[in-house]
Amino acid sequence: MKPARFDYFAPGTVDEALALLAEHGDQAKPLAGGQSLIPAMNFRLARPQVLVDLNQVAALSYIRANGSGLAIGAMTRQRAVERSDLVARAAPLLAEAMPSIAHPQIRNRGTVGGSLAHADPSAELPAVALALETRFRAKSATGERWIPAGEFFKGMLETALEPGELLVEIAIPPLPARSGTAFLEMARRHGDYALVGVAAVVTLEANGRCQAARVALLSVGDGPVLASEAATVLAGQAPSAELARAAGERAASRDVDPPSDIHASAAYRRRLVAVLTRRALERAFERAEKGSGEQGAVPSG
């Protein structure tokens, strides 16, 4: 199908884009990689009257060291993140999750900001952002604010962004020493949206016990779900296969209320939560114990 009629603007700067969004209010939508918005318009599930194309706004595309964390511009292509050495070092969890997003052709166009602003509950980036306590920098014609990941995702395809507001950057803080991370998902074919996915971050104390854990799940609710019950099972305990299993079971029974759809029943998704959480935790603990190993490496300083 073809989209409904719309007006099109291609500003060259963030300020011009913000002025256009302010002028057209909730009639307008930013266009990033177009990998979700254009199909939605072609199916007439979305009918924005004005598109503000961000693809000429070069200033929104960057990956930078930010202290020992990371700052990534909203228009940075998913493929650029996937291939970045800096991301591999400073946020190995993000690097590990990238190849699970769609296919290379789509990641060449799709952006970090587009995926996060779209807030598909089956998308990888929102869960990774939640696990890594990412902060979201939003700008409008009248000002700027930082939104923590826990407040950014509001539900099915819904975020804290207001009409007229652009996501311009995400900031990923560095992980403490002795941290390890892992990303896993189950999809029927590579590139499909996941039936369930899990992003795990663990931090160990000097004595090897688990100090803190953040496990974020995708495809099990209206948005990314933080498995806080699973985290309480882990806190203060010595890592073991049995501990990982117990945390996985707790996540499945207490943290999620997954939907049934034509791809998977709720019961199957629950089972996947238990199994994938266990496996991701085992892997994250192993990487944390290896300390400066390849994955889960902590940037020094």
């Binding site: 199916f43 499909d192 791809h263 998977a264 019961a267």
Partner: protein
């Protein structure tokens, strides 16, 4: 959009064997081919999966056999 078509990567390795069974129903022994070969395929896969799962008493009478569906069947058979 939500209909998962099998693609090239889902096709298993195929081995071809010949066996002649002329039809007794006509003088030439000829049989229709065309789509006849497509009909038993689903059942064949279902039976192979039943066999692979050993003695669970599981009987698969329906396709598609998605991971989710298989999980449900195994749970029911337990």
């Amino acid at each position: 959009m939500d209909y998962l078509l099998p693609t090239a990567t889902d096709v298993p390795r195929v081995e071809t064997a010949h066996r002649e069974t002329p039809s007794p129903l006509n003088p030439m022994g000829a049989k229709g081919v065309g789509e006849a070969g497509a009909i038993p395929t689903g059942a064949l896969f279902a039976q192979a999966v039943e066999d692979a799962l050993g003695r669970t008493g599981l009987e698969i009478c329906e396709i598609p056999l998605s991971p989710s569906r298989l999980f449900e069947l195994i749970e029911e058979a337990r």
